[in-house]
Amino acid sequence: MISGTVVWGVIGFLLTVMVLSYLIHDSLFFRLAAYLLIGLTAGYLVVLLVNRVILPHLIWPMAEASWSQRLWLLIPIVLGLLLLVGQIPRLAQLSRIPLAYVAGLSAAVAIGGAVFGTMVPQGQAVLEAFNPYRIYAEPQLVWVRILDAGVMILGVVGTLSYFHFGQPLKKINRTDERKRPKALQILSRIGEVFLGLTLGAIFAGVFSTALLALIDRIAVLGEMIGQFLGGL
């Protein structure tokens, strides 16, 4: 009697071989594995969205709620229906209403998130490096913390300058089109270095993670082949 573990192990082995065959050449096997993943995941997601979002947020409350609450619940139901019906080309305009709603919500979330979730906390963190109580908290290595603070403001300001969109306002020819206004141009050189340092460190992390996945797959293949040969 073959156990489920063995069956799933064999399936995992085959799928791994099919996908990794892509490293040599894009093949029928890779596509089969990829489309199998898409199909299964899509079906799973439909079930998940219905069972974990639509039902608990719309249908179940509808059953329990009072009449006045049901009126409120009708709004998302109608919006959802409009989004669905709007997929018919002739009725496309109907989906503009729920999309306008989502656009407004997304815009507000983006604004709030950008300011209160990113700009303000990150700005605070930059300024915090200059907090004298923090710098002189311990007598030793004060210079390291002062250096930290200096590097922090220089790096952040430099990186921001690097992102400046516009060219100098004075007339330019095409060879100058990558230039920024002078002061920002100097700062942007520093920012470019810090940006490189950040992306380099992240690249190392990304490669480490991907490498570990490769090692895992090779290990799985090796173990399965070992078991197979051992079983002969």
Binding site: L40, Y101, G104, A110, I111, G155, F194, L199, G200, G205
Partner: protein
């Protein structure tokens, strides 16, 4: 006229949510309601997306487009997964095994392919971008990060060496803060553009 109505809906919802950030006590319940509806719409949008996915592959099969056989495999897997999910429920061990034992090997293998891709790409960094402060800093940073990761550079705790190493390890954060603040600024302007319908979500010019 229709454009005005859509713009008004966007503005009304957006301003209410923004006001909710400010008057969180007074507008708390309203905010909750708006978010609930948004969540439902995003979920319905997810279902619509699945509809697009299915429609694309049904079209491929009907029109016998190149690779239609893969579309057939996809649709079969989609139907099996959906029917099994609704009949067996998400907590059924077999269903969980079915999904996870396909997802894990295939996705991990895709990530493994990324390792090879990054290896190829690392051969081409300078060829692609040239010797610039950005690329030099990028290479140096990647190098030292990998060395630290391998444990080839070790420092005793409480020494100046440890502080210096920690200082260099903090440098990537500086650029990251700059990027995050900049992205926040961009996000703020982009949000305002949609809020004021300067960028239309309807596609008309």
């Amino acid at each position: 006229m229709k454009k005005l109505i859509f713009a008004a809906i966007t503005l009304l919802v957006g301003l209410t949510v923004l006001a909710g950030f400010f008057f969180s006590d007074q507008l708390g319940p309203t905010l909750t309601l708006i978010f609930e509806w948004g969540l439902v719409l995003v979920a319905v949008g997810g279902l619509v997306g699945m509809g697009y996915l299915a429609a694309t592959h049904i079209r491929n099969i009907v029109q016998r487009k190149k690779g239609w056989i893969y579309s057939a495999v996809l649709l079969a897997a989609f139907l099996i997964s959906m029917v099994a999910g609704f009949t067996l429920s998400l907590d059924n061990p077999f269903y969980r095994d079915l999904i996870l034992n396909v997802q894990v090997p295939v996705e991990t293998s895709l990530l493994a392919i990324l390792a090879a891709t990054l290896l190829y790409a690392s051969l081409r960094l300078i060829r692609t971008r040239g010797w610039t402060p950005l690329t030099i800093a990028f290479m140096a940073s990647a190098f030292f990060s990998l060395l630290f990761d391998l444990g080839l550079i070790r420092t005793a705790s409480g020494t100046v060496g440890e502080q210096v190493v920690a200082f260099f390890q903090r440098l990537p954060l500086v650029g990251a803060r700059g990027v995050l603040i900049g992205m926040g600024l961009g996000g703020l302007l982009m949000g305002l553009r949609f809020l004021f319908s300067i960028n239309s979500s309807g596609g008309e010019r």
